[in-house]
Amino acid sequence: MNIDLLTVESTRTAIAEKQFTAAAMVDAFYEKIGKDDPDIGAYLTLSEEGAYAQAARIDELAGRGDALPALAGVPIAVKDVISTKGVRTTAGSKILANYDAPYNATVIDRLEAAGAIVLGKTNCDEFAMGSSNENSGFHPVRNPRDRTRVPGGSSGGSAAVIAAGTAVASLGTDTGGSIRQPASFCGVVGLMPTYGRVSRYGLIAFASSLDKIGPFGKTVKDAALLLEVMAGRDPMDSTSADVPVPRYSDFVGQPIAGLKIGVPGEYFGEGLDAEVRAAVEAAIKKLAEAGCEIVPISLKHTSYAIPTYYLVATAEASSNLARFDGVRYSVRAKSVKTPAEMYRRTRNEGFGAEVKRRIMLGTYALSAGYYDAYYLKAQKVRSLIARDFDEAFAKVDAIVTPTTPTTAFRLGEKADDPLAMYLADIFTVTASLAGIPGLSLPCGNNSDGLPIGLQVLGKHFDEATVLRVGHVAEHALAGQSR
């Protein structure tokens, strides 16, 4: 059994055709994790008990010759900000080091009902705050493509398991680029769905007007197959939209001739690495050859997106993280004498430097006298950024850009400069603020062999077009990324 090449479909087919059992496949994955993961650090917790129980259910169905559900036997890894019943869920933070989630997130229920097997929980930046995975409260993750480099963040572990072949698919979350940026750095596919497309019930909140759950996989089709199971209205999340869920995988492979593809000039200016530019321009040429019309567009408020994001996201985070008070579910500081002392010492001992920095910035931006100047101002600029996309999508069907201005940077390279780290998200935060879907897929390597990512953005709830375009690019570029 060569588990390295498994995709969502080939896993299900192999189990249905009894090439191997789900249980034997799970054995093989845990063996590989045991051998390769200690050096990479992508997993925080393994959920063997649940994985083998689910494998037994799938094997029983296969043994009877019953039709297998859509994701039967697909081994997935789950970012540790997503609740998994009875399995430690830390959000990458020491403050939740002992937290066993008492219920499943809706996405976990849906994926398990479709036959997926949760192998374990993946490392991430603490509370999903970071762009390198170096803010994990436990340990950093190394990029499987070059272990001296970061995998990106905050869903660094979930991207790394795909690159390392220690899961077939995985879940991440994207607030300002946390799926697309690590997908780009690790050379895998990552999809941020439209805001409201996927239920967030059971997700530990960072910034509620921005957080989305989305899939990682080896291929665009794998991302589509996961999304169609995860998406759709959930009564437990009032921000989940009641919008019909198409069979996304049906769109993968459809021709794209005649589509208008926007290319925003703002994403190709100063600061863009020359090799990244060349690779993305080559990909755009392939889309033109596939019959797309390439349309130069302008997203003129792009350079204001990072400051806007860091006000909106930190303000929301300062409010969301107020719940970690040492009373209900966190570690509590020892021998505290008053409630005030309990809050302060628990939070100071439990939170890492970046989380404290963001709580401070957000609290400051919301505090009396600064609200209008910072938070309200940022919300207004957010409108302008969203409007840029509205105007662009009146003219084009999808937008193509580089996912990140550079390839993966070295561990420690930006760890002491928060602002430099924030700028790693410069091409991803815009779509996050607008709430539109975005896909990152591999688009060749640079001369050091490091992966380059192509970003495809679409209209609200038009993941289908994003996936269609992504799939054509993926196949046109096949062979350039390995």
């Binding site: 007007s209 009564p235 939209a241 009373v327 430097a353 404290k356 400051y364």
Partner: protein
């Protein structure tokens, strides 16, 4: 510019007890980040509506002004987490309530 006094005040609001070293670092970082954020003032946003949520603008595929499809669920009783499970991660309980240090001195 954020002052040392601001850092102490905001830490207090956020229930964070920063060490001396952390306060110095925070002062430096906040000023660097807020300095960068200043560029938002280059934009004239008078007359621009603040965007607090994505869903209020787009959800439902409906025309602006129509009811949003996500809105509310029916007000029906559904089972919630059993008491014992809800308390299971608390650092200190008496089985019924969360326990905290004494709030009122007698």
């Amino acid at each position: 510019m954020v002052s040392e006094k601001d850092v102490n005040y905001v830490a207090d609001l956020a229930h964070l007890e920063l060490t001396e070293t952390e306060r110095a670092r925070m002062l430096r970082d906040l000023n660097s980040i807020l300095g960068y954020i200043e560029r938002l003032n280059e934009l004239d946003t008078s007359g621009v509506e603040p965007m607090a949520q994505v869903s209020t603008r787009y959800v439902g595929g409906v025309e602006p002004g129509e009811a949003f499809a996500y809105a509310m669920r029916a007000d029906e009783l559904i089972p919630s987490l059993p008491h014992e499970e809800a308390m299971s991660n608390a650092p200190q309980t008496d089985g019924t309530f969360f326990k905290v240090p004494k709030v009122i001195e007698r």
